[in-house]
């Protein structure tokens, strides 16, 4: 059973090795040379004005929290979808109640303006 995952393990090892190669091979080949442009956070982007170490807006937290709630909902739908054929209409009704209650949560969140950014 465990051997089923052996290809996955090889795959993971390959990713790891490739990461190491990408990190260390080019400097070894071309030599490390630091320039001002390379040291910038975004080499070809907007020049940063202030430090990034500042307080995040509370909206991020709220979004992350709501993401978890609907993420858990999605997780519940997955095993349901797999056996829906066996459950037939009863399964549809079950999930309708489950999703319906969370739809009310969505309406609440929406109407309360929690999805509007920074207003």
């Amino acid at each position: 059973m465990l051997s089923d995952y052996f290809p996955l393990l090889i795959f993971l090892a390959a990713i790891f090795v490739f990461g190491l190669i990408a990190l260390f091979f080019p400097p070894w080949l071309a030599g490390a040379r630091t320039t001002t442009a390379k040291a910038l956070p975004y080499e070809s982007g907007i020049v940063p004005r202030t430090t990034a170490r500042r307080r995040f807006a509370v909206s991020f937290y709220l979004t992350a929290m709501l993401f978890i709630i609907f993420d858990v909902e999605a997780i519940f739908i997955y095993p349901w979808a797999v056996i829906l054929k066996g459950l037939r209409w009863f399964g549809i009704a079950e999930m309708a109640v489950f999703v319906g209650i969370l739809l009310i949560a969505l309406i609440y969140v929406w109407k309360k303006g929690a999805l509007e950014w920074g207003s």
Binding site: L87, I107, Y108
Partner: protein, 493 residues
């Protein structure tokens, strides 16, 4: 794979009270989105109607023993008994809420949604006959209460209260869940019926997994019931939360937690009583000691009542110790009595401190008899009842619990029940000091200027009058409730 849906045992009447309360919560949530802010009193009305509906829906459960939804819930007298206590507590809370919330600029519809959700969770806990539903009931009530303790969201004290409750509550939930996992590992069952079968076998007493699981489970439940040594959160959370929330949760949470304790220990594991007796007796004795001794030095009434609540958790737990339906009946009576008198006491604190939290300091209560005689009189009744002085209901609550211990000691012919009994009697005498101190302070002549008299308000007046009358009347005729408690305590699996 075909699933046999008919074998689930779908029966909506067994969970009708929970369904009605949940439905009302959702209705209030939707209504709140569409009605203007100055008409939020309608929400309170809808909540009360829904809770009354749940009260009515609980009546058919009386005398039945209907399992449903794959044995995860049951509709029986035990659940009905708790549903009535919980629904009444909620109704009284909602009745006195609008005025309090408006005075604090906290009049948001979410309050009623959360109170209703907490009530639904507590009802589910009282009806739960599966580890899954016990856990979900506890989580539902806890989640709602975490937010409610932080309901005054701009106040630092309230935030602190919510954060402490959340962190410690999460820790306790970890214990609870670990215990459930161990119990499942030891028995292969999640329903209490399945558990009772395994626990009744002669080898169960030597099963380390099962015993460890029961131990962790009791830690989680004792935390919710705020029994020592798992009580640390109680004073801070009770003090910081808005008083109206404290009123609700001090009564309802304790009742719901003891519903689970009663069902698990008396109905599922009576055969293991010789194993769980000592830890549970220690928790009871600890609660009695810490609650009563620390309450003496409290100058803040909310903290004093918090420690008194810890002490009462000890008294309530005494009735569970014999592991018999007779003992459980005295526990149920105590919970009903505690609900009435403690709700009343906190309601008076709410009324006195309607405009600021500092009024919970005992100095503010000096001479309350001369300033606000009605509040002082009702408070006196509640204090006498909490102390256990006849003819109030609190006296009989203690009497029945003590009697159940004496009966257990005689029938089992063992001395183990005497130790907690003696502690309880001594601690009852100790408790006279801090309860009567409140009465004495209220009788003292007021010093300095007399602050302006604020009317109590019709809803608060009614609620206080009802609670006070119930405290006295139930004390005069305790037999009725005790008969109900005896019927409810006959839990079958």
């Amino acid at each position: 794979m075909i699933v046999n849906v008919n074998a689930i045992g779908i029966d909506y009447t067994t969970i009708l009270p929970e369904l009605v309360v949940t439905g009302t919560a959702i209705l209030v949530l939707i209504l709140d989105l569409f009605i203007p802010a100055d008409r939020r009193r309608i929400l309170a009305l809808v909540a009360i109607l829904g809770l009354l509906g749940a009260l009515v829906a609980s009546i058919p459960l009386w005398g039945h023993n209907k399992f449903a939804f794959g044995d995860t819930v049951v509709g029986d007298s035990f659940a009905a008994f708790f549903n009535v206590i919980l629904a009444l507590t909620s109704i009284l809370t909602v009745l006195i809420s609008p005025r309090f919330l408006r005075a604090r600029q906290l009049d948001y519809g979410e309050y009623y949604v959360l109170i209703l959700a907490a009530t639904a969770g507590m009802m589910l806990l009282a009806a739960a006959t599966s580890l899954m539903t016990i856990f979900l009931g506890i989580e539902l009530l806890s989640l709602a209460l975490y937010v409610l303790s932080g309901f005054a969201r701009t106040q630092l004290r309230s935030q602190e209260s919510a954060l402490k409750y959340l962190l410690l509550g999460g820790f306790a939930t970890g214990f609870l869940l670990y215990g459930m996992a161990l119990i499942y590992g030891a028995t292969g069952a999640t329903t209490l019926r399945g558990l009772a079968l395994v626990a009744g076998s002669p080898t169960a007493g030597g099963n380390a997994l099962l015993l460890l699981g029961i131990g962790f489970l009791s830690v989680g439940l004792a935390f919710k019931a705020s029994a020592a040594p798992f009580h640390m959160w109680t004073p801070d959370v009770y003090e910081g939360a808005p008083t109206i929330v404290t009123t609700f949760m001090s009564v309802a949470t304790k009742a719901a937690a003891f519903a689970a304790v009663g069902r698990v220990f008396v109905a599922v594991f009576p055969a293991l009583q010789y194993r769980w007796y000592v830890p549970l007796a220690l928790i009871a004795v600890f609660s009695l000691f810490i609650g009563n001794l620390v309450a003496i030095v409290q100058d803040n009434l909310k903290r004093m009542l918090a420690y008194s609540g810890i002490a009462h958790a000890g008294f309530i737990l005494l009735g569970v110790l014999p592991g018999t339906p007779d003992g459980l009946a005295s526990t149920l009576f105590y919970i009903a009595a505690y609900a009435v008198m403690n709700f009343g006491a906190f309601a008076v604190v709410t009324s006195v401190g309607a405009r600021g939290e500092e009024t919970a300091n005992i100095n503010y209560w000096r001479g309350l008899f001369y300033r606000r005689p009605f509040l002082a009189t009702t408070m006196t009744i509640f204090m006498l009842s909490l102390a256990g002085i006849p003819p109030t209901v609190g006296f009989f609550a203690k009497l029945f619990v003590f009697r159940s211990l004496v009966v257990a000691a005689q029938t089992a012919n063992s001395g183990q029940f005497w130790a907690p009994l003696i502690v309880a009697i001594v601690m009852t005498v100790v408790s006279f000091y801090y309860y009567l101190r409140v009465v004495v302070v209220m009788l003292m002549t007021p010093e300095g200027e007399v602050t302006e008299r604020e009317p109590v308000g019709a809803s608060m007046g009614t609620v206080l009058a009802i609670s006070a009358a119930a405290t006295v009347i139930l004390g005069l005729f305790p037999g009725v409730i005790f008969d109900w408690a005896s019927t409810a305590a006959g839990v079958h699996l």
